[in-house]
């Protein structure tokens, strides 16, 4: 469903991606972990068509090296800060794409679908007419998730879904992501450095280190692996091959 083939990306002299390759089959949930500044977000942008890799190819839902407009019907994306549009009420944020383009929905139908999706992420209909600024961080994440699943896309992306949330709310969001992914049968790719997200969301784990996938394997093995880089990261140790000054 998602295939990355030898992705390279540099910014000036700094090489961020140095040959990232992976193949994510339909219905599987991959969690990409890695330290701050290791290129997780750049990888995500390359997969979404927001950033063009210097070399290498991305195939997503059968489309190779497609731009975001072509990919849009096939993907849903939850941004780190939710990235809700401040000027629109919650329901219009959720139904944003469905109200535009060919085959767009009418206002009434779109609002009712938005309320349905909001209910799916645990928000009541009263939330629909609020504006993003009136919501807490956790509620904004839920709205972002509702927007991501509004079109029932086959591929979902999550960028640091628990960033800025307290541990309880983080668990709620992780479980919501897991249940939504399972329910939709979607292929999911999550980037995070939160180990609870890894435990709750991942079928498979990949560790991004020095511009490439240093380790890949089943989620259960991520915490038992002897790999020194992975072990240092999952245990949060200050001593090890990953420098603390980055």
């Amino acid at each position: 469903m998602i295939r990355a083939d030898a992705l390279h990306k540099s910014f000036g002299a700094k090489t961020v991606l140095n040959g990232v390759s992976f193949d994510l089959p339909k219905g599987e949930s991959l969690v990409v972990i890695g330290g701050s500044g290791t290129g997780k977000s750049v990888l995500l942008k390359c997969l979404l068509g927001l950033e063009r890799p210097d070399s290498g190819h991305v195939t997503l839902a059968g489309l190779t090296d497609a731009g975001p407009r072509a990919l849009a019907p096939h993907i849903g994306m939850l941004f780190q800060g939710a990235a809700l549009f401040d000027s629109l009420p919650v329901w219009q944020n959720v139904a944003f794409r469905l109200m535009r383009g060919t085959g767009r929905m009418g206002k009434t139908e779109a609002k009712s679908l938005a309320i349905e999706k909001l209910a799916r992420v645990g928000l009541g209909p009263a939330t629909a007419d609020l504006y993003p600024a009136e919501l807490s961080g956790g509620m904004q994440k839920r709205v972002g998730l509702a927007r991501a699943i509004a079109g029932d896309p086959p591929v979902l992306f999550f960028d640091e879904p628990t960033a800025g949330l307290d541990p309880i709310m983080a668990s709620v969001i992780n479980r919501l992501i897991r249940s939504v992914v399972t329910e939709l049968g979607a292929t999911a790719l999550t980037i995070t450095h939160d180990m609870t997200t890894l435990r709750d969301v991942a079928d498979r784990v990949a560790m991004l280190h020095e511009g490439r996938f240093h380790w890949q394997g089943p989620a259960a093995e991520a915490f038992t692996s002897d790999d020194p880089v992975l072990r240092q990261f999952t245990r949060g140790e200050t001593e090890g091959p990953i420098p603390t000054l980055r």
Binding site: L50, A72, G81, S87
Partner: protein, 265 residues
């Protein structure tokens, strides 16, 4: 000779780099302008967003443009009276006040006030959207930010500014009338008669054309710096400041060029 050569070389090098940077920035701005014009012609057209921007840029700028015009018209009448009295030509106060307002001060001061209010707000809004990944979110939702954000603002500012200028001209002339009648001893109907008799269609129309150009430049500057905003609060602040400065300079430069084009002998 030998000791001054490295200094001269450094000076030339610095001048060359500064010129190249300035040319590069100008090229990027012109490229953005052309790109924006290209997006204007491509559907879909976001009419609801256009309506919202017409309200934001046009309707909500009326108070500031109106107040500016009122006081400018009043001050202009006083100044022209003081100057014309030296030659015994006080009768020219209504006509020169009107011409000064509609040709120059209405569009230029209105444009500058809109630049301060609108270019800053556009740059800050789009810059914040960029920083908070809302522009990326638009793209993943199959909406091109240039089409959804830039085009409606450019069109709205270009359409709204001539109307703002026309309203500002009227209020400015009213300001001159109020001072003329209450402070300078003019007869009310005579003041209005002199104003209308000497004012020609092109005087008013040229000011409105200037307004349209200024509106386009204001929105273009705001959108350009917003879209290219740096990270964080400092980046957005810098973008906002640059948008207002560039919009103001462009208005003054464009005003000169348009005045040359419209009124040079």
């Amino acid at each position: 000779m030998t000791s001054s050569s490295p200094v001269a070389a450094r000076l030339f090098g610095a001048t060359g780099r500064a010129t190249a940077n300035a040319m590069g920035a100008l090229g990027r701005f012109l490229g953005f302008a052309l790109q924006s014009l290209g997006w204007m012609l491509r559907p879909p057209f976001h009419l609801r967003e256009l309506g919202a921007q017409l309200m934001q840029i046009g309707w909500f700028s009326l108070p500031v443009v109106g107040m500016t015009a009122l006081f400018t018209g009043a001050a202009l009448a006083l100044q022209i009276f003081a100057g014309s009295a030296r030659y015994g030509a006080e009768f020219a106060v209504p006509s020169i006040t009107a011409i000064g307002m509609v040709r120059e001060l209405g569009p230029v001061l209105g444009g500058l006030m809109v630049a301060a209010r609108v270019a800053s707000s556009i740059a800050a809004e789009i810059g914040t959207m960029k920083v908070s990944e809302q522009l990326d979110a638009l793209r993943t939702l199959a909406v091109e930010p240039m089409q959804y954000l830039t085009v409606p603002r450019l069109v709205a500012a270009t359409l709204a500014m001539p109307v703002l200028v026309a309203v500002g001209d009227s209020i400015g002339i009213l300001g001159g009338y109020a001072v003329g009648v209450s402070r300078l001893g003019f007869d009310g109907p005579t003041y209005l008669h002199n104003t209308l008799d000497f004012l020609e269609f092109w005087d008013v129309a040229s000011g409105m054309v200037k307004g349209a150009v200024f509106g386009f430049l204001v929105a273009l500057s705001g959108c350009y710096f917003g879209m290219n905003s740096g990270r964080g609060a400092q980046g957005v602040g810098e973008a906002t400041k640059s948008a207002v400065v560039l919009a103001s300079v462009l208005i003054l430069a464009a005003n000169y060029l348009l005045t040359e084009a419209f009124f040079s002998a």
